[in-house]
Symmetry: C2
C-alpha cells in the first residue's frame, strides 16, 4: 500500500522557471529527506504521479531518473520505484592503526567491523609479484618490483572495499607477508617483526564516480561514488614500507581524522 | 581537427557478453585514460563512431551518456563532445590548521591557495544567529543558539567549496567573530585571543552525489561527487568551540592526513 501522493507531495509552481520534471524530483527528494517516504518504501506509481501532477509519463520518468542518478531510489523492474535503504555506515577511527590493535592480533578491518557489530569477510585474495606503476614506485621510494596483495572486503556479505597493498619485493619476498594468510595482526604486525617498526601513516583521500569494473566489484547502486584512499606506511627510519590503494563504497564509510592545532 | 577514430579505438568483441554500448564506452574511456584523447580534446563525432563501429546512433549516444555520467566528457550543444579538463586539484595538508599559519595572519584557505599558486576568493558571505540543527547542537555540546558564518570559496574564479561555521552564541556574540571580516588569521586566531586556545580538530569525511542546490552553488559538472567534511575544533579544555560543515567539489581536492602508528 502506498499513501496517496496528494497527501505527501505538493503542487507544481506554474510561475517557476524550473523545469517541471525537476520540480517533481525536488518534491520527491524533499519527501524522502523528511521521512515521508522511509527507507525501502515504495514511491507513488507512474500513473499516480501522472494523475497527481497532470503531466506526461515521460516527465514523471525524467523526474525519477534524476533521483536514481542521486542514488536515492532504485527501480525494481515491473514492481515500482523504492527508496534505497541506506547501508550501515562504518566510521573509521583516527586511531585505527594504533599498535595496541596489532598487539591484540587484530587487523584494522577486523577492529572496525567488530566495533560496528558487523561480520567481516575477505575474498578475491590475490598475492603476486609485479612491476609497479610509476605512481606506486615513486611512493615506495623507487621500488622496481613489488609484492602485491589484492583483496575485497565484505561486511555482512556486502562488498564495501577493494584494496591493493604494495610492498617493496626485497622486504616482503619469502616472508609471511607473501603468504595468503599473513597471520595475526596482518601485514603491519609482520613488518614490525621484520624490524620495520611503524611510525606513521599518510592517507590521501579523493572521491569520484566509479569505473564500471568498480561498480561490479563493489555492487554499487547508481549514483554512489567511491572514496579513493591511498595510504603509505612509514617505518621509524622514514622508509615507505607499504602503499595501500583502496577503493571504498562511499555510502558505507565515514572516515574520521584528527588534525593538530599546534 | 579530430584524428580518425579507427586509429585510436579498437574493434568490438563479438564474442563478449558485454553490451555493445558499454564496450564502446570502455574503448573511449581507455583512450582518454591513456591520453590518446587529451583534456579539452574533441571525441570523434557521432557519425564517425557510427561508421567506425557499425552501430546505430542510439548505441553511440548511450555510450557517450555513460562517460558523461562518469564526468569524463561534456557535450557542447551542436558542437560535439569534449574530454573534460581536469581542474587543478588542491592538496589539503595535514598541518593546515597549525598555529604557525594563524600566527602569520593567514587563514587555512589562503595558506593552501598560495601553496597551489591560485588566487583565493570568498563570496556569498552571510553571518547570522540561528537555532542549530540537532546534529550541530550535539557536536557543540548542546548549544541552543549559534553564530553561523556561511561563505563560498573560489579558486581562480571557480567555486570549489561552500562552508558553514557554527559557534556557540555565548562565545561568539559581540566579538570580531561576528563581523563579516573577522581579521587576520580568521576565526581560529580570534578564538585563541578570546582565551580558547585550540588543541585539536576532528574531521569526518564522507562522499556523495550533490543535491541540485549544491550543483548550482559549486557549478559541478555531471558525474562529479562532493566531499562532505565536518570539522570540530576543540580547545585545550576539551570544549567544542566550532563546527565547520563543508561541501567541496570532489574533483578539486585531495585531502591529506597523518595517522599515528603508535
Amino acid at each position: 500500500m502506498t499513501s496517496s501522493p496528494s497527501a505527501l507531495l505538493g503542487a507544481l509552481d506554474p510561475t517557476s522557471d524550473r523545469a517541471v520534471f525537476r520540480q517533481i524530483a525536488d518534491h520527491l527528494r524533499e519527501a524522502i529527506d523528511k521521512g515521508r517516504f522511509t527507507e525501502g518504501a515504495k514511491l507513488p506509481s507512474e500513473a499516480e504521479l501522472v494523475e497527481h501532477y497532470g503531466v506526461s509519463r515521460m516527465t514523471v520518468r525524467n523526474a525519477i531518473s534524476i533521483l536514481q542518478g542521486e542514488g536515492l531510489v532504485h527501480a525494481e523492474h515491473g514492481k515500482g520505484v523504492y527508496v534505497r535503504p541506506r547501508p550501515p555506515v562504518r566510521r573509521l577511527a583516527s586511531d585505527r592503526f594504533a599498535r595496541r590493535h596489532r598487539e591484540q592480533g587484530k587487523s584494522a578491518f577486523t577492529v572496525e567491523a567488530e566495533a560496528a557489530g558487523s561480520r567481516p569477510e575477505v575474498d578475491q585474495l590475490e598475492v603476486r609479484e609485479e612491476r609497479p606503476s610509476q605512481d606506486i614506485a615513486a611512493r615506495l621510494g623507487g621500488a622496481r618490483k613489488v609484492l602485491v596483495r589484492r583483496r575485497r572486503y565484505l561486511l555482512d556479505g556486502r562488498p564495501v572495499e577493494f584494496a591493493s597493498s604494495y610492498l617493496p619485493l626485497d622486504l616482503a619476498r619469502n616472508t609471511p607477508i607473501a603468504q595468503p594468510n599473513p597471520g595475526p595482526g596482518g601485514i603491519y604486525a609482520r613488518l614490525e617483526e621484520l624490524g620495520h617498526r611503524l611510525e606513521r601513516f599518510e592517507e590521501e583521500v579523493r572521491a569520484r564516480m566509479p569505473a564500471p569494473a568498480e561498480v561490479k566489484t563493489l555492487r554499487l547502486a547508481a549514483g554512489v561514488p567511491v572514496i579513493h584512499l591511498i595510504r603509505t606506511a612509514y617505518d621509524t627510519e622514514g622508509r615507505a614500507v607499504e602503499v595501500c590503494d583502496t577503493v571504498m563504497a562511499a555510502d558505507a564509510y565515514v572516515l574520521a581524522y584528527q588534525l593538530p592545532a599546534i
